[in-house]
């Protein structure tokens, strides 16, 4: 069912559909996924097996044959619903946002290709199929980030995104190949013979790999590397903020709601593999790695987000941070915890990005929050929805979905038996999240207008605010699905019967933890409030002049007239450090890029001197041979040939004379020939005595 939706969508995009077609296609897939979802709900309530698969042979190669397949289980159903729903809203929003773009059709073509590939990732029941769709997703991501390819920064960001994720993908592919070599199948579930089912996992566990890892653990790590590339986890996160060069709906769709979630989804998909061999009260190596990387990423993203001035970059780092949360949730609490945050995050982050897009649109393509301000009165709808998204992201208690999902992760991290490290990191992250969101909202919506005096912000059209409102409703409402009292989401994902348990709150340690988290959120929000709203950020009377040693990034850090951040004046060292993203890009520039530059130079030198020399020698040899050949030719062969040609010319002249082209002449010759023959016959007959003349 759902796969049909996915494929139909891909075909449409191939035909270069217009916006209507794209939205229609996604609408159809939304309906299909609702059907799939309700179907799933029914089988779940009937306590039936909720994993449905359709497998088919792709090709045979010798004795191996490769199977692909589609899968539908609660995990996929939830993701399908989320992607199609959020995607649809973003598509609708895009018609407003991109209305003035000349490449409107191309944009929607890419968008729907992306959506199709993303749905393919979700419903693939084979790592190989998943990988193919994964790569298409990566490609469309590249295309969409570089959509405004006239801008050099956009083109560079697209390249960066593509190459960085490619690093992860190489590991992913290695993992796939290894898995195939070990188990002979790439299907997740295949009636007991799939790679994620007990038989194969046991085989994998018994295979030792290097460094004390089992094959299962090593493969799990490799696949996680792929997921880290896609989901912007710590060493490979650098592409995500730069990806904000793309149009804002793209940032919302790809870099908030869906594509980056693909990595998390992948880890959830192969969770049985990662978790294989975990003893009670312990964790596997791969999950430990996932948890630590996730926690570090969460903290790092939150830290850097504090010191950004581009409205979309703040959100980008926030996404990096939240993806870290999801990874920790997966690693410590299992599939349901991570996925729950994924779903809620998809809604409120899409909301935030679309809100940011609306702000940017309203402020005439201005992205610097220092040149906004006071927008709450001018753009009330955007402000309201943005505030909801911001509160959800900060984890504002009780009413907002982000609170429940983040709390589930915090709880899981707290209960994690291996280490409390990730938990502490996450707590700091939560505090910072609340802080930077408060800062951003204060800059954008409060205070007074700080942009150029002659421009005026305006509210966005209905087609853009409507999706915002819908998303806001969900950003609030989705939390209900995962409260400790009514753990609907968890039981659905894990296909367990649902219990309403009022004692959910009274689990030991839960309430204090929740209280502590709430306290942190309030502390963060309060700090943001105190720093940025209490002394309402005003445009400075005189333009302060700043001399900063380093000017980094695509645009200068300061333009005259920009106000200075409170934190920046307080602790310039730390600020600069954060504003430059902990110098990650520079680190890569110094290490990886230098290395590659050196390698490239070496290859170039080898090419020119060594291989070039060999080639030149060979070429010289052949040139000598050629010269000898030519000499022989001109001396001997040509002479004979010329003679032959002369003969031919003479003979041809004679024949041409004979070939007069006149039929009577031929006839006469014929008659003459007949006469001669008759005469001959008579003569011969007379000689032999048979004829008597």
């Amino acid at each position: 069912m759902a796969c049909a939706g996915g494929i139909a969508l891909m075909k449409q995009s191939m035909r270069k559909a217009s916006a209507t077609l794209a939205i229609g296609g996604l609408g159809v897939s939304l309906i299909l996924s609702i059907i799939a979802f309700t179907d799933m709900l029914q089988t779940w309530s009937l306590r039936a097996n909720t994993t449905q698969t359709i497998n088919f042979d792709w090709f045979d190669l010798g004795a191996t044959h490769l199977q692909l397949g589609w899968i539908l289980d609660p995990l996929a159903a939830v993701m399908l619903l989320m992607v199609t729903f959020v995607g649809l809203l973003i598509f609708i929003y895009s018609t407003g946002y991109m209305a003035h773009d000349e490449n409107f059709t191309r944009f929607f073509c890419f968008l729907s290709l992306f959506a199709g590939a993303m749905l393919g990732v979700i419903i693939a029941n084979s790592l190989l199929l998943l990988f193919m769709c994964w790569e298409i997703v990566g490609l469309t991501s590249y295309l969409l980030i570089g959509f405004w390819y006239q801008k050099p920064s956009a083109a560079a960001a697209a390249k960066k995104a593509f190459l960085t994720t490619r690093i992860g993908d190489i590991f992913f592919l290695l993992g796939i190949v290894w898995l195939f070599a070990q188990t002979g199948t790439l299907l997740f579930y295949n009636h007991g013979a799939g790679a994620m089912e007990p038989a194969a996992l046991a085989a994998l566990l018994s295979q030792p790999a290097a460094l004390g890892l089992t094959a299962a653990g090593a493969i799990g790590l490799l696949i996680f590397a792929g997921a880290a590339g896609k989901s912007g986890q710590l060493p490979l996160h650098v592409w995500l903020p730069d990806a904000m060069e793309g149009p804002t709906p793209v940032s919302a769709l790809i870099h908030a709601a869906t594509m980056v979630a693909a990595g998390v989804y992948l880890v959830a998909r192969v969770y049985p593999l990662m978790n294989a061999g975990a003893v009670a009260g312990g964790s596997t190596v791969s999950l430990t790695v996932v948890a630590w990387i996730g926690a570090l990423t969460a903290l790092f993203g939150a830290l850097v987000a504090v010191a950004q001035n581009d409205i979309k970059r703040i959100l980008a780092y926030s996404t990096v941070s939240q993806l870290g949360y999801m990874m920790v949730g997966l690693a410590t609490g299992g599939v349901a915890v991570g996925m729950f945050h994924l779903i809620t995050h998809a809604f409120f982050k899409a909301l935030l990005f679309l809100g940011a897009g609306s702000v940017i649109h309203g402020c005439h393509e201005e992205q610097d929050i220092r040149r906004m301000g006071g927008l709450s009165k001018i753009m009330p709808v955007t402000f309201g929805t943005y505030a909801i998204g911001m509160l959800a992201l900060s984890g504002f208690p009780i009413f907002f979905s982000g609170f429940w999902s983040k709390d589930a992760i915090l709880g899981a991290a707290h209960a994690w038996p291996v280490s409390k490290g990730p938990f502490v990191l996450l707590l700091i992250g939560a505090l910072l999240t609340a802080f930077y969101m408060a800062r951003q909202v204060a800059y954008v919506f409060f205070g007074s207008w700080r942009g150029p005096a002659h421009t005026h912000a305006h509210e966005s059209p209905r087609v853009m605010t409507l999706p915002l409102s819908i998303l806001a409703v969900f950003a609030v409402g989705l939390g209900v699905l995962g409260t400790p009292v009514w753990p609907w989401f968890t039981s659905f994902i894990e296909s367990k019967p649902l219990l309403v348990d009022m004692h959910g709150f009274s689990e030991p340690g839960l309430l204090p933890l929740m209280g502590f988290a709430i306290l942190l959120v309030f502390a963060g929000l309060g700090a943001g409030w105190w720093l940025y709203i209490r002394k309402a950020v005003q445009k400075p009377a005189t333009a302060p002049v700043h001399h900063h040693a380093q000017e980094h990034g695509d645009e200068p850090q300061h333009r005259p007239g920009d106000l200075v951040d409170v934190l920046e004046s307080g602790a310039p060292m730390v600020w600069n450090w954060l504003a430059n993203r902990l110098y990650f890009d520079e680190l890569y520039a110094v290490t990886v890029l230098r290395l590659y530059a050196a390698l490239a130079w070496l290859s170039d030198w080898l090419d020119r001197r060594f291989w070039g020399g060999i080639v030149a020698a060979v070429a010289g040899g052949f040139r000598g041979l050629g010269w000898a050949n030519k000499a022989i030719d001109s001396q001997w062969i040509d002479g004979g040939f010329d003679k032959g040609c002369e003969e031919l010319v003479t003979g041809g002249g004679l024949l041409a004379w004979l070939q007069a082209g006149r039929a009577p002449g031929y006839l006469r010759t014929l008659a003459l020939g007949v006469l001669v023959l008759v005469a001959l016959a008579l003569a011969v007959g007379a000689a032999t005595g048979q004829v008597h003349p």
Binding site: W657, L658, Q659, G661
Partner: protein
């Protein structure tokens, strides 16, 4: 009964006339007619020799000569059709049937 020689003389005359026509005329169609005359002379010879031959009547393969003649006539018809077709095609192309003007195949 007319002796064989009479047939042969008539046939030789017809052949000579045909040859003369085809050698002297410059019109392609008349040349074709001449060729037809020569062919018919040959046919006359065939029939005459058959009629006076050893298996003229009765049994077995007595029809050999007749068949030969009919075959030859059929071939002549086909040849005439092709020849006339060529002449007409050339006439359409060059507006002439003069053989002396048809020199485009000169080497």
């Amino acid at each position: 009964m007319t002796p064989l020689a009479a047939y042969l003389i008539v046939a030789a005359l017809v052949f000579a006339i045909g040859l003369a026509i085809s050698l002297t005329r410059r019109n392609a169609i008349l040349v074709l007619i001449g060729i037809e005359l020569m062919l018919n002379a040959a046919n006359l010879n065939l029939i005459a020799f058959w009629r006076f031959g050893p298996h003229s009547s009765g049994h077995g393969d007595g029809l050999t000569g007749m068949m030969f003649a009919i075959f030859s006539i059929a071939v002549a018809a086909a040849e005439a059709a092709v020849g006339l077709g060529l002449a007409i095609a050339y006439h359409r192309h060059a507006k002439t049937t003069d053989l002396d003007a048809m020199t485009r195949m000169k080497g």
